[in-house]
């Protein structure tokens, strides 16, 4: 027996209001969890990146002093090599100048070149040639010059010329 002309609507707990409410809360919660997941993910990435950066920094901190040591060593080598090359060139020029200093009329038989001294052995036609042509320029270079002569077989004179450059310390002590 029917008391109404319409069919009864179905009763449900999820009314339109509740559906709206749940949608709101679900969306809110979803946003919250998404934000949290994003933060956790980024946090992990940061931690990983920090570890990588730390490793790279450690590597740089090890390599930089090594390179600095290598640079210092090479600079030291270059400095010493320049000193050595200059010394060799100066030596070449000094020997060249020494032999240029000896006039044609005087013949050298031996030359001993030391750091602060020069000993020359040779033969000269006479004392005047030696004094004017060899001793004079030697005197201008060296602080002390000593010469000794003895006769040679052919009537010329053999000479020994000993020349010294005094160290600056010695000179200042003498003063």
């Amino acid at each position: 027996m029917k008391y109404s002309y319409i069919n009864p609507r179905k009763k449900t707990i999820f009314t339109r209001d509740i559906q709206l409410l749940f949608t709101f809360f679900i969306v809110t919660l979803l946003m919250l969890f998404s934000a949290y997941s994003f933060l956790v993910f980024r946090d992990n990435r940061f931690t990983q990146e920090m570890t990588d950066i730390k490793l790279q920094k450690d590597e740089y901190r090890t390599n930089i002093p090594k390179m600095e040591n290598q640079i210092a060593a090479i600079e030291k080598q270059v400095l010493l090599s320049e000193k050595i090359f200059t010394k060799n060139i100066v030596l070449r020029d000094s020997i060249n100048n020494l032999f240029d200093l000896v006039p044609n009329r005087i013949t050298l038989s031996e030359a001993k070149i030391m750091e602060n001294a020069l000993i020359l052995y040779g033969i000269t036609p006479n004392k005047d040639v030696y004094n004017f042509m060899l001793q004079a320029p030697l005197r201008s270079i060296f602080h002390r010059t000593y010469s000794s002569f003895y006769p040679a077989d052919n009537g010329w004179l053999r000479f020994v010329s000993t020349n010294y450059i005094d160290n600056e310390e010695e000179l200042s002590n003498e003063d």
């Binding site: 809110t28 946090d43 940061f46 920094k57 390179m67 090479i74 070449r92 020997i95 001993k112």
Partner: protein, 179 residues
């Protein structure tokens, strides 16, 4: 006045309150601290990245300097590393002399952190010009050599006999001390 609330409304209201409290609690207790932590870490990472870049730039600068020095001074670096060989020296430089003999090297005291060896040389030359050529060539040789005093020149007929010492410089190595 009596408020008539159905049981369903009360449940709904309670659920709303619970969800609201959860949202607030989650936000304040978890999300906001995590956000702050994220911000701090982000600024720290930025700082670390900046430091890393500075270190990287400095390292590149040093590397460029080192490469330049190594390329510009290949001969010098190699010369300091090469062990002196009397035979090779004689072969390389005998063209300057009529005869050349090099004695065995003797170790001297280290100089500025470099091992120093002394080598005595006896030679015969036809003219001093050969000796000048030798002094020029020695700066381009395979070793770091300084010709040292005393240098003696003695006339022997048409030839000049010369004796001099040379100092060979090497990178200081512990193993060299016994040589």
């Amino acid at each position: 006045m009596k408020i008539n609330l159905s049981r369903q409304t009360i449940y709904l209201f309670a659920l709303c309150i619970f969800l609201l409290i959860f949202v607030l609690a989650f936000s304040f207790a978890v999300l906001i601290p995590k956000g702050k932590e994220y911000r701090i870490k982000k600024s720290e990472l930025k700082k670390e990245n900046l430091e890393l870049k500075q270190l990287s730039d400095f390292s590149i600068e040093k590397e460029v300097t080192l490469q330049k020095l190594q390329n510009d001074n290949v001969h010098i670096i190699t010369a300091f590393e090469t062990e002196f060989s009397a035979d090779r020296f004689e072969k390389q430089h005998k063209s300057f002399f009529s005869s050349l003999s090099v004695s065995k090297k003797s170790k001297l005291e280290d100089e500025d952190g470099f091992s120093v060896y002394e080598v005595n040389t006896t030679s015969k030359i036809s003219s001093p010009k050969s000796f000048y050529g030798f002094l020029d060539a020695i700066n381009k040789s395979d070793w770091m050599i300084a010709v040292n005093f005393p240098i003696n020149f003695k006339r022997e007929g048409e030839m000049i006999s010369s004796t001099f010492t040379m100092r060979v410089y090497n990178n200081a190595k512990e193993s060299n001390s016994s040589k």
